[in-house]
């Protein structure tokens, strides 16, 4: 469809057909205030805040968020009718809104404050008792609800219904008595619940983890990558006084589209744990770095297969590269186990990208409960089905959340028989003429499937129906570790020495280990008899991860590595020196160059858009 020309407040602009007036206005920096409108949700025109005058049109203000542009349209946002309309609506919103700003966490990044200042009346005509609710209501142990502050924009319930396909958050009652509630006051259970905090335009939905921690202007932040699973959503990490105080989404349309799951959003408090390890120690006594590294080297040198190496799921590409060198040299023969990895081997060819799910006409999910394994990919599939009409086939033994959609075809295979079912699909009528790309997302069924057979079956199906495969790795940097060849799968029973990079193995320290060394950030049982090097967390370390689709993304820590802490790659270089291998890298850039990756030049932060979820 051809582009459309229109005029907004005298500016002549050209935008793609179908653009909403409120978005068109943003292109020339004109702010039309909105509450209920969100660019990722279907527009409803509920709050009436975006009233503007449009011609051709009736002699009344209209909502800019529900009206698409039309050729030759003239939009005026500053006429008396529009200005008064918006001021009236803001005054209505404030009629019952409590004067909580001094104690409300949203203050300083609150659209209601900002819009009232920019678009509202300078003085209040409100007099008389306000509507009161019990507050705050714990919606879960992470989210608090304040019903008095709520402006009933319904972004939260619409998000739940449209994006997450769940209705555990609901609106009760009617009219001015309406309020948001969790179903029958039970705690919210969804892994996607935290996004409502970012969505809420006022301080009604707030993070209990971040409650009363800081004002927005007291924090600095960086755009980084989440380190909790293989999807690698873009996140904004906020720090204050050397602590990581909160995590919010930094919208990346290629991967997460502005949503993050609760693991990424709330599982960061260990970064600020006061018992964090800061200095090296040998058998419980403080030591110097030199002594500790020599002790580690002495303990793991020349052990061959009697050495066990445990690697974390979020090992960076740079650390993995250095480990490869160690494992090829002085640590040759060691048993290596990486946390959290799937049974899926390294890919041999290009795999499907997450954003390509949008265009798929048929999506097939095999041997994985996406909500659990790769939550944000789950949301992307839901969007493709409900907003873009894709058909969905699930091959999995148990119920999954996709079953909520009546159109989902769910084949419940006996465990181990997934490949068989996939082969049968080749003759399914939906795949005869899919009318576009087919996406085949396959996991490893947490070990219940023969992965080689399944991968082959998916590959055959993809060829037959014109599809692409996406392998659902789970560990954060599983692909990076596979590329470096350190994504080990060995059992660590019977080793005499254990070197744990990151937390101890999930199965525990092997009883046979007489020597234990660890690079870890928290004290654990048994560290008083081990050599312990203090580790950085994802909030401090530099490096990169490769997500499940193969995109390399770079961490940007908001917190400096404060001595005596050292960067992981630095520690590995020194360890290499102690083991007799020359890992002479002076910085992280030479390592990255050696691997063949290069971080992009940082974007200059665009002018902040003055509407939408909490943004810096």
């Amino acid at each position: 469809m051809p582009d459309v020309n229109l005029t907004i407040d005298g500016h002549r602009i050209t935008v793609p057909a179908g653009t909403l007036v409120v978005e068109a206005a943003k292109t020339v920096g004109i702010e039309i205030p909105v509450f209920c409108y969100h660019h990722k949700l279907d527009p409803v025109g509920a709050c009436r805040l975006c009233l503007v005058e449009m011609s051709p049109g009736p002699p009344r203000p209209q909502t800019a968020c529900t009206t698409p542009v039309s050729e030759g349209m003239v939009v005026r946002t500053q006429t008396a009718m529009a200005v008064q309309g918006r001021a009236d609506i803001l005054e209505f919103e404030l009629a019952n809104h409590p004067l909580d700003c001094p104690v409300c966490d949203k203050g300083g990044e609150c659209p209601l404050q900002d819009f009232t200042f920019r678009h509202g009346y300078p003085t209040s005509r409100i007099d008389g008792p306000r509507l009161h609710f019990k507050k705050p209501i714990p919606l879960s142990d992470k989210i608090a609800l304040d019903r008095e502050r709520c402006v009933l924009c319904y972004r939260c319930t619409r998000y739940y219904d449209e994006i997450a396909w769940e209705q555990e958050l609901t609106t009760d009652e009617r009219g001015v008595q309406s309020f948001i509630a969790s179903q029958f006051d039970q705690p919210l259970k969804s892994i996607f619940s935290g996004n409502i905090i970012d969505l809420c335009p006022v301080g009604a939905l707030t993070s209990r983890v971040w409650r009363f921690e800081s004002r927005p202007w007291d924090m600095t932040h960086t755009e980084s990558v989440c380190s909790r699973c293989s999807v690698g959503c873009s996140v904004t990490l906020w720090q204050r006084r050397g602590q990581l105080v909160r995590v919010t989404s930094h919208e990346n349309d290629d991967i997460d589209e502005g949503w993050i799951c609760d693991r990424g959003r709330f599982d960061y408090t260990d970064v600020n744990d006061p018992s964090r390890l800061r200095t090296p120690s040998i058998n419980g006594s403080r030591s110097t770095w030199a002594d500790a590294i020599y002790a580690v080297a002495a303990g793991i040198r020349g052990k061959g297969a009697k050495l066990g190496v445990s690697l974390p799921q979020d090992i960076t590409n740079e650390e993995a590269f250095l480990f490869r060198k160690l494992l090829d040299g002085p640590l040759k023969g060691a048993k290596v186990k990486m946390h959290g990895r799937t049974a899926i081997p390294a890919p041999k060819d290009e795999l499907m990208k997450i954003k390509e799910i949008d265009d798929a006409r048929v999506i097939i999910v095999v041997a994985s409960d996406l909500e659990d394994d790769v939550p944000i990919v789950d949301l992307r599939v839901k969007k493709a089905v409900s907003k873009r009409g894709a058909k969905l086939i699930v091959v999995y033994p148990d119920g999954v959340d996709f079953d909520r959609h009546p159109g989902t075809l769910h084949i419940r295979n006996a465990p181990g028989k997934a490949a068989e079912e996939v082969r049968k699909l080749a003759s399914h009528e939906w795949l005869k003429n899919p009318g576009g790309p087919v996406g085949i997302l396959f996991g490893d069924g947490h070990g219940s499937e023969d992965i080689a057979d399944l991968a082959a079956a998916c590959g055959e199906l993809a060829e037959k129906v014109g599809g692409q495969r996406m392998a659902l790795y789970r560990a954060t940097n599983e692909r990076g570790a596979l590329a470096s060849g350190v994504a080990g799968w060995d059992k660590l029973d019977g080793v005499e020495a254990l070197f744990s990079w990151g937390p101890p193995p999930t199965a525990g320290v092997p009883k046979s280990a007489k020597f234990v060394a660890a690079w870890d950030h928290l004290p654990r049982d048994g560290y008083d008899k081990a050599v312990v090097l203090p580790a950085t967390t994802f909030a401090e370390r530099q490096g990169s991860y490769t997500n499940l689709e193969g995109t390399v993304q770079f961490l940007r820590p908001p917190i400096h590595v404060a001595p005596p802490l050292k960067e992981g790659w630095e520690v590995l270089c020194e360890l290499g020196a102690a083991l007799g291998v020359a890992l002479d890298y002076e910085g992280i850039l030479p390592i990255q160059r050696a691997i063949g990756i290069q971080p992009p030049a940082p974007e200059l932060a665009p002018e902040p858009v003055l509407v939408g979820p909490a943004r810096p």
């Binding site: 025109g45 005509r125 402006v151 009219g175």
Partner: protein, 438 residues
């Protein structure tokens, strides 16, 4: 059943109600003996769908639910040839205060409604019609259920009505207590099993209505008029009433009148005729003070305007509207401020809560009225009422419920300023004894 109060029996202007009062008119055999279902037969067998729509256009019939949109034009918005199912949805949610006409029709002659629905469905290419009936209408629901069963047994509803290869079906869906379901798109939301909150338009129901399909929504009385139009012809129907607002309509007259009832009136008669002659005027010793010409949502008119005619144009010129035809008459023994307060309580209670101005504004007005009526008022409260009224009108709200609250405040303030000032500024009421609000 209770005695009929209103029009019935053969009179030249009794297009709908001429047979009302006949024993067992709700039975198909009796209805047919009075000429029932000849229009359906004619429409199915002798007319093309486009002709049916044209006949309705010629008749000048306008929606009888409240908005008064030209019915034939509305029918023509449905693209009959578009593939996939289409629906007719009948708005039997009658909840506008002062309105009982749809109940009157459904209780006395449910087959007339059924016939009208089937003709409309055939005209717009819909094979299935859904009647959304308010949950409190137990008796009309029962009568419609029986009428539909009778029609089904006779084959008028089924795969080949009158032998025509066009399946027709009617289903019933009960509402559960929400005035907002009378609004088209809120009704559709409720039909889809959701909280009844109106949708933004566009898209309009004719394009994307019930369950995402093209849908024709019409009021009960509108559809009940269709058989008569088909039988007598649109041009003949248009001879009644006024040029721009032809035909007859059922006006529910209630309140302080001696003979409240549902009266079929040729459009264009005066309210004086309707209120004083048909409904007998106010009780002995009292005078008409104010009347709502079309349900509580129609801006009020004072006694001095009793000679206003009942057609849409005249009412629009007087800044009011014909609305649902619910004529509420209040005499001089009642207080206008208390009446307005009660009506704003109604709108606040029925507000769906979706859009900010209605959700907050109706309630804010109620609280302001409470202060005024408690003797705590002042000029500030009067200004607040005006401010709320302005904030509810002129496109601020998502649907007409918001505007209606605004119109109650606005029109009563305009015509009865002194009574408001008595309460707000002088803390007194100069009207006779009034019922105390609970």
């Amino acid at each position: 059943m209770a005695e009929l109060r209103g029009s019935f029996g053969d009179q030249p202007h009794h297009i709908l109600t001429s047979e009302f009062g006949t024993t067992d008119l709700h039975k198909l055999s009796v209805y047919e003996s009075k000429g029932g279902y000849t229009a359906l037969r004619k429409a199915l067998l002798d007319m093309a769908p486009a002709d049916i729509t044209n006949e309705v256009k010629t008749s000048g019939l306008r929606g009888r639910g409240g908005a008064g949109f030209a019915t034939g034009t509305k029918w023509s918005f449905i693209n009959r040839d578009a593939p996939g199912p289409k629906y007719v949805v009948v708005n039997a949610d009658e909840s506008e205060p002062g309105t009982a006409k749809d109940r009157y029709i459904m209780e006395n002659c449910p087959h007339m409604v059924v016939e009208g629905i089937l003709i409309a469905a055939y005209a717009v290419g819909a094979n299935q019609a859904w009647v959304y009936i308010r949950g409190e209408y137990d008796e009309p629901h029962r009568m419609l259920t029986e009428a539909i069963a009778e029609a089904r047994a006779k084959g008028y509803i089924g795969p080949r009505p009158f032998g025509k290869d066009f399946p027709l079906d009617i289903r019933l869906y009960r509402g559960h207590g929400a005035y907002i379901c009378g609004e088209e798109t809120a009704l559709l939301e409720s039909l889809e099993g959701k909280r009844a909150q109106p949708r933004s338009r566009p898209p309009f129901p004719a394009v994307k209505g019930a369950w995402g399909r093209p849908t024709l929504l019409n009021n009960v009385e509108t559809l009940a008029t269709v058989p008569a139009i088909i039988n007598m012809g649109g041009a003949e129907y248009a001879k009644l009433g006024t040029a721009k607002n032809p035909g007859t309509r059922l006006l529910t007259v209630s309140g302080n009148v001696r003979k409240p009832g549902v009266y079929e009136v040729e459009i264009g008669k005066t309210f004086r005729h309707v209120i004083m002659e048909l409904a007998g005027g106010p009780p002995e010793g009292r005078k008409v003070k104010v009347f709502w010409p079309g349900g509580s949502s129609a801006p009020v008119l004072p006694e001095s305007m009793l000679d206003m005619t009942t057609d849409a144009e005249a009412l629009a010129a007087a800044k009011s509207m014909g609305g649902s035809g619910g004529v509420i008459v209040m005499d001089d023994s009642h207080c206008i401020v208390k009446a307005a307060h009660r009506l704003l309580q109604f709108y606040a209670h029925e507000s769906c809560g979706k859009c900010t101005p209605c959700r907050i504004g109706q309630d804010w007005a109620v609280r302001t009225y409470e202060r005024i009526l408690a003797g705590e008022g002042s000029q500030v409260e009067l200004d607040t009422l005006q401010r709320v009224s302005d904030g509810l009108q002129n496109g601020r709200c998502l649907c007409g419920l918001g505007d209606s609250g605004g119109w109650v405040i606005d029109s009563t303030l305009r015509h009865f300023r002194e009574e408001y000032e008595d309460h707000a500024l002088r803390h007194t009421c100069n009207v006779g004894k009034v019922a105390v609000s609970a």
